[in-house]
Every structure is written in C-alpha cells, then in structure tokens.
Amino acid sequence: MKIQRMSQVAALALVGSLSLAACGSDSNSTSDSSSGSASGSSSASGSESAAGGGEDCGKVAIKAEGSSAQKNAIEEAISSYGDKCADAQVDYNPTGSGAGIKQFIAGQVDFAGSDSALKTEPKDGKIEADEAKKFCGSEAWNIPMVTGPIAIAYNVKGVDKLVLTPEVAAKIFKGQITKWNDPAIAKINSGATLPASDIKVFFRSDESGTTENFTNYLNKAASAVWTDEKSKSWKGKGEGKEKSAGVAEATKSTDGGITYVELSYAKDNGLAMAQIDNGGGAVELTSESVGKAVAGAKQTGEGNNLALKLDYTTKEAGTYPILLVTYEIVCSKGKDAEKQAAIKAFLKHFASDDVQKGLEEIGYAPLPDEVKTKVNTAIDAIS
C-alpha cells in the first residue's frame, strides 16, 4: 500500500503544479514596459506618449487572424495598445492571409489581416468580397495598415553595394545567371569587385504572401524573363527554406546566398540589401522610397474601401517598387456594437502616428500622410 500512496503523491504533485501554474498573470504592461524600454524598445516609449491621448479603449476582447507579413507590426501595436488599455485584449494569429479571410467570412474572427484585398473576381466559384458582404450584412472594407517592403537580401563577401534591375533579378531567381561575376551583374555594378562564386538562391518553401508579391513584381517588371503569373508557391530555382526566418538565416550562413525577404528579417539578420533600378536609377530601400510607392498607388475600391493597386513597373526616381501592403479587413457595419467599437479603437491606435513611426524601426514603412488621412476617415466611419 506504501507504493500506492507514492503514486497518489505523484498524481497529486501533477495536479498541484497545474493549479500553481493557474496563478500566472497576463499583466506585463506595468512591470515589463519599463524593462522593455530599458532594452531599447521602440514601442514602449511610443506608447507612453500616446497614453495621454485619451483615446477610447475597447471593452471586449477581439480576435484576428491572417497575414504573417504584418505579424511583427501588429504585435507591436497590440503591445502598446495593451499598455494603454489594460483590459482590452487583442489576439492576432498569423496563420496566413488566405486562412485569415476564410475565418473572417466564416465569422470565426473579428477582423482579418491580408496581404491582398478581398478579391472581386470569382475563384473556385466564389467571390470573396461578396461572401464577406454576406457575412457582415454590410460592405467589408479593406483598410491598408502596414506596408512591408520586400528586400532582395544577399550575402557576398566584399560586396556592400549591389544594384539589380528587374531583368537581372529575375534571371538570378530563375537560375539563368549562376555566378556573381556574370557580365550582366558586372555591367550594372561597375565599381564592385564581384567574386566568381556560385549564386545560391533561397526561397520560401511554405506558401506565402511574400512569394506572391515578389513573383508578381518579377512578372510585371520583367515579364520577358519571369513568365509565370504570381503565385503563393515558388516557381523559380534555388533551395527552399521554411518561413521568412528560414530564408534569412540560410542567406546569413551561406556565402554567395541571395533571397527575397521582408525588410525586418533582413535587418534583424544583418543582411545587405540590393538597390533596385526599375529604369529610373538605383533606389535604396528606405521608408521614404517605400512611402513614395504607396502614395503612388491607385485606389481600386470605392469610398472607404481602400483597396490599392501598386505600380510595380514605376520608373519614378526614388521609388522602391517591391512591397506588399497588408490590409485589415473589417465589416463596415457590424452586428455587435461593442465588438465594432473595440475593433475601431484598436485600429485607431494602430493607425496613430506613434505606432506607425514605431513600425519604421522594426522594418516596416509608415503609411504616407495622404493614405493615412483616408485610413483614419475609414476607421471613423466603422460602426
């Protein structure tokens, strides 16, 4: 019987540890925002100044799902929103744009994050925009919130500055140019000493909005070389790595590596980024050059539906052409007033100057002023 008691003790210990764990706390806002700013965080300082703004806080928890490209951005926003509104919980699950829209239409999440606006043409017999409208009982709006530039990041010893044209980039990613000292690269990089080593291309092995936008760019800007339509799965050459972290990490550890990846990952991994020459001169990836591209985009939606059409072939000087815009997809008029108010409060915070400026430090570009004005108007109109 002694043994029996022993195992009962063991079982008790298990249950005990569980109930002990149940004493945990979600409130990291007060104690941890200070430690956060001590470690050089941008969000904490940004949020403290916003705290005096007296904006409304949501009263109910909201759930969102979608694009992983905006993951870091929305997490910063949720973090600083939590500092300001301790009780307003926002949970974002970065499972991918497609999954986000699907969950939104099914009414499982309160808003979706997507790298492309709701489609207005039929796919598999259904039109996304109409489906969303059916669920909301009102029009669903695409609100651009985060602009994520895609960097062509590389790792070549001794090459700090690299210029690429769409054609050369497409040929590299198609496997038609295989050496770093290929005449085609040398021609547009006259000053650089290019090694004779192999070019090692890394691509995303999982389906991703980043791949979709990058292949869209290559297809639009270098249609002669890149003949495949845009797609979420890679159609070029190279070695596939899992997620943005995988391609960035692989490029970092491989001499001669090159990849396409969101700016934040290129920055975090300390990778060099190519300048893009779309025909109007080489352009470095900066928040200004990206902002110019967003500002130059055409609005395809009507009124407060701010679906944008980016011009990948732009030849305007100082405009960085490879970027994706992440939309928050919301019901313009919702069934649950408290939920809508909470969504509105959070998006308002997300679009605020402090948050948008903070995004710049983590590798996103802030919304240009004219777009931001439209975005704010749209958010105000949510009811």
Partner: protein, 309 residues
C-alpha cells in the same frame, strides 16, 4: 556444441571452423584481439550515443538556463511582449501544456486501462487478436497523421474551430496505445493465485479485477501513464495543425487559442532577435525538464513497484 548449434545456426558454424583451423586449447592472439576490438566498439557505441544527449541538454542549459531563474518566467505570460522586448514569462505555455496533457490523460486512461483489462482478463480469440494488432498499429501512427485525422473530423466534417480540445483528441490517439501496453504488462504480472483466491471466496469477476487485480498493478499503471504523458507533451506536429498559439493565459478548451510550450518555441524561433532566442531556449529547457521529471517519476514508481514484486 549442441547448444551452439541450436542457438546459432550459420554463425555457430563459422565459429566451429575457426576452432578447427586454430589451436583448440587456449584463446589465440587473433581471437583475443577481436574480443578486445569488440569491447572497444561496444563501449564506443555507448559513448557516441551519449554525445547528442549531453550536447543538447548542455546547449539548452547554457542558452536558456538564465530564463528559468527569473521569477517572471514562472508567473507571467507573454501578453503584450513582442519579439524585441525582453520580459514576460512562460506560464501561459506551461499551463496550456499541462492542461492539455491532463485532459488527454483523462480521456486516454479509461480507454487504455479498460482495453488492457479486456486483453488480459476477457479477450480471447479473433477479436482480441484484432484489438492487440490495432494497438500496435496505433502505436505506430505518426503524430501528424493523428492530427490530420482529427482535423478531417473536427474541422472539415463538423466545421468546428481549431481548439485545445481537438489537440487533446489527437494526443489521445498517441497516448492510448502506450497506456494499453504498459497496463497489460502489469496486469500479466499479477499472480494468478490472487485471482483464484478471490474467486474461491465467491467474489464476482468484475469485483476481483476492480478490487484485487487493478490495485495490485496500480503503481505500474501510474508509471505507464506518466511515460505516456511524457511522450505526448513533447509532440509538436498536432499543435501546428490544431492548436494555434496565443500570448495570453487561456483555460478554455473549447474556444479561443491556447498556448503550449512547443508552440511557444515554434513562434519565437522565427525571430532573429536575442530576446526571442532566449525565450526559445528557455521554453525548450522548460519542456525538456517537465518531460524529464515525468519520465523519472515514472521510473521511480516502477522501481519501487518492482521491489515489492
């Protein structure tokens, strides 16, 4: 020689021919060298096998050890903590992992123990053979297949959300066979005399099993459960498919997301920043420790039960 023949077959025959060619008396130098080489190789195998364990545990300790020393780690969640912010803890993930393990055990233990009772005490003939065969097949079902199955039932067919309970169902598929096998071993060890004595006193069979057989095997069953728990707690694939992560503490099995240690590792491993890397290894170390403790606890219970047998 006859022993060698029946046991050895072909290899015994070669040994014999060696005997014939060499000197039959003492062990020749060649054979002695072979013997020493074998000794070195076998020791070498063991030492080589130890290398990865020491290496992995060592790196987890070095890279994640300091995280576990902070009291926040055991008392706070990651709510509002981003990749570049230090702070917060893992309590949401630890709690989620424990809750899911416990619920999985609550579903699996009755099925597993009763199946074992069936196999040892009741089952005869074709049906019992089929059950025993299926237990082995279930043992070999990859966790990703278990997860896909639950996805096909829970999400595609019924249209439910991906929630913690679905994860528990997938883990249940992995835990049941472990419990069946270990319980079965233990029930078989229960001396038949105990059963006979009970029947002789006119105690019905079900009461004999319930009051005599199962309690006698109790510690062994607990060991099986603990080892089964240790197996399912480290599973990541079902969580990737069925159990979305959240940074907040969650206790609802049927709605919303629930964090677990493997998904916490999975989320933060995609970051190249130091605070996230620290958390990854901290969570990895925490997970290894929990599994180690369950394992050792299971062995301890088994050890003491053996003394009694």
């Amino acid at each position: 020689m006859s022993t060698l023949d029946t046991a050895g077959g072909a290899s015994a025959a070669t040994t014999r021919s060696e005997y014939a060619s060499g000197d039959l008396g003492g062990k020749s130098a060649g054979r002695e060298i072979k013997n020493q080489i074998a000794r070195i190789v076998v020791w070498g195998c063991f030492l080589i096998a130890c290398v990865p364990l020491v290496w992995i545990l060592g790196s987890a300790l070095v890279k994640g050890g300091h995280m576990l020393l902070s009291p926040d780690w055991w008392s706070h969640s990651q709510a509002g903590i981003t990749a570049r912010r230090v702070g917060g803890g893992a309590v949401h993930a630890i709690q989620g992992s424990l809750i899911q393990a416990l619920v999985t055990a609550l579903i699996s233990v009755p099925i597993g123990v009763m199946t074992a009772v069936y196999l040892v005490e009741y089952g005869r003939g074709k049906l019992a053979r089929a059950v025993s065969f299926m237990v082995d097949i279930l043992t070999g079902v990859p966790s990703i297949v278990a997860a896909l199955f639950v996805y096909a039932v829970w999400v595609t067919t019924f249209g439910f959300q991906r929630v913690a309970f679905a994860v528990c169902l997938a883990l249940m598929l992995l835990m049941v066979p472990t419990i069946v096998r270990s319980t079965e071993e233990m029930l078989k060890l229960v001396p038949n005399e105990l059963r006979e004595a009970s029947y002789a006193l006119g105690v019905p069979k079900w009461k004999t099993i319930f009051k005599i057989v199962l309690p006698t095997a109790f510690s062994g069953i607990v060991t099986g459960i603990l080892l089964g728990l240790a197996r399912v707690m480290g599973e990541t694939a079902p969580l990737l498919i069925l159990g979305p992560y959240t940074k907040n503490i969650a206790t609802n099995l049927f709605s919303g997301n629930m964090a677990t240690l493997p998904t916490m590792i999975d989320r933060d491993r995609t970051e190249a920043l130091q605070p996230a890397i620290d958390r990854v290894w901290g969570a990895a170390l925490t997970l290894i420790l929990i599994i180690l403790i369950l394992n050792l606890l299971g062995r301890l219970v088994a050890h003491f039960s053996k003394v009694r047998n």
